[in-house]
């Protein structure tokens, strides 16, 4: 099992704490079936022999760009970045994060940096015998940064190869309302750097879980934008809970744009019998 990134620095009073849903994403992305799919789709040396010797043939399609929307603590994005070699079969992966919550963006920068350092330290330990080509053995991907934003709005169209989304999926009677006191950039205005009101913190946490009708109001907006933001080879991993009516969601996706989209459940935490039974759906354009 690949190690889980350290998130001990994350302020959980205003950033979603890694939980069963986050861990299901880690397990699914590193599962044999998904690593095989991602290797075949994105590894430059995907055709069987993956020799790590000097210069591999250039990838005509280019290095994949992986974006997590709603990073929260950054545990999933850090996992993907740190273990790129294991997940994609190559460390040549660009990653970035988007979150509405400034604290989440800031936490993610640290979570990714720690996970990259840990991955390097571990690789250095394993490779201590032949340190000569150590530079080529850097196991982690290249994290470009995190931006504050609403879903995929800041991203260039047709640019994302892998999009990961752990949405606010809990059904709620209404979507979170921004308190009057809330300033979207307040954590960075030096005067009030770490002072937040209880209302502000509650709002930020509500953004991370409150999904409105069927828990799908935010997820539906993301799905509706996939055709615009994903590259032709792109795919998305979206987490759903049982109350989201996942079978209907998948049917809706398969009917989009005259049926060019595929949607399959590729991971689930079926053991829990509670209302929050979770699954990961992979969404991609496929010739069926």
């Amino acid at each position: 099992m690949l190690p889980t990134p350290d998130t001990s620095h994350v302020p959980y009073e205003r950033v979603y704490e890694p939980a069963e849903d986050s861990f299901l994403l880690l397990d699914t992305l590193s599962s044999p079936s998904e690593t095989q799919f991602l290797h075949e789709t994105f590894s430059p040396t995907s055709s069987s022999s993956s020799s790590s010797s000097s210069s591999s043939p250039p990838s005509k399609a280019g290095i994949p760009f992986v974006v997590e929307v709603g990073t929260g603590s950054g545990v999933v994005l850090a996992f993907i970045t740190a273990h790129a070699k294991a997940i994609f079969g190559t460390n040549q992966v660009l990653t970035a994060g988007v979150d509405m919550n400034a604290f989440a963006c800031r936490a993610t920068v640290t979570t990714v940096a720690k996970a990259q350092a840990d991955a390097l330290a571990e690789a250095a330990g394993t490779n201590s015998g032949n340190s000569s080509d150590y530079g080529k053995q850097v196991p982690h991907g290249m994290y470009l940064g995190s931006v504050m934003g609403d879903l995929t709005a800041p991203l260039k169209p047709n640019s994302v190869d892998v999009l990961v989304f752990n949405p606010p999926y809990v059904p709620t009677s209404e979507m979170p309302n921004r308190p009057d006191t809330f300033k979207e950039d307040f954590p960075f205005s030096s005067s009030s750097s770490n002072k937040t009101s209880f209302d502000d913190d509650s709002y930020l946490l509500a953004l991370s879980y409150a999904g409105g009708a069927d828990g799908m109001e935010t997820t539906d907006r993301l799905i509706a934008g996939l055709h615009e933001v994903l590259s032709p080879r792109g795919c998305a991993y979206v987490l759903l809970c049982a109350q989201n009516k996942p079978e209907l969601v998948k049917e809706r996706i398969r009917r989009m744009e005259g049926g060019v989209w595929r949607a399959e459940t590729v991971g689930s935490s079926g053991k829990t019998a509670g209302w929050e039974k979770l699954q990961i759906v992979r969404i991609w354009r496929g010739s069926a």
Binding site: A102, R106, K136, V147, G149, D185
Partner: protein
Amino acid sequence: MKVLSLNFLTCAVKACKSSSSSYPLHPRDAELVQDEIEVNPDMLVNVLPRLDWAALRTTSSELGFPPLPEQPPTQEELRADDKLVRDLHHLLLETQISEGKLVCANCGHEYAVKEGIANFLLPSHLV
């Protein structure tokens, strides 16, 4: 945020998406910081097909970097051009924007960058 990220970012205003002048965003009053990262020519060669070269040339000159060639190199040319590999590595991966603004040339909206994090949340009248 690494300079390379500017090649993947665009104005968040919906009406700007169809306008070519909304991309790339233009850095203003940018403060830059430099990391030291080991050069990986293989990776840069594979980053190349992902680059919008014209946008990158704009970003590069606006940040005060030496001019990039007018036409992008091929992957083979880049692999053979040690200097260009190092220049691109330095610009795209080692240079980070820590403070400043990113401006849309179409609508004029300014996205603030603070502590390396750009804020693309829009005020309610622009959503």
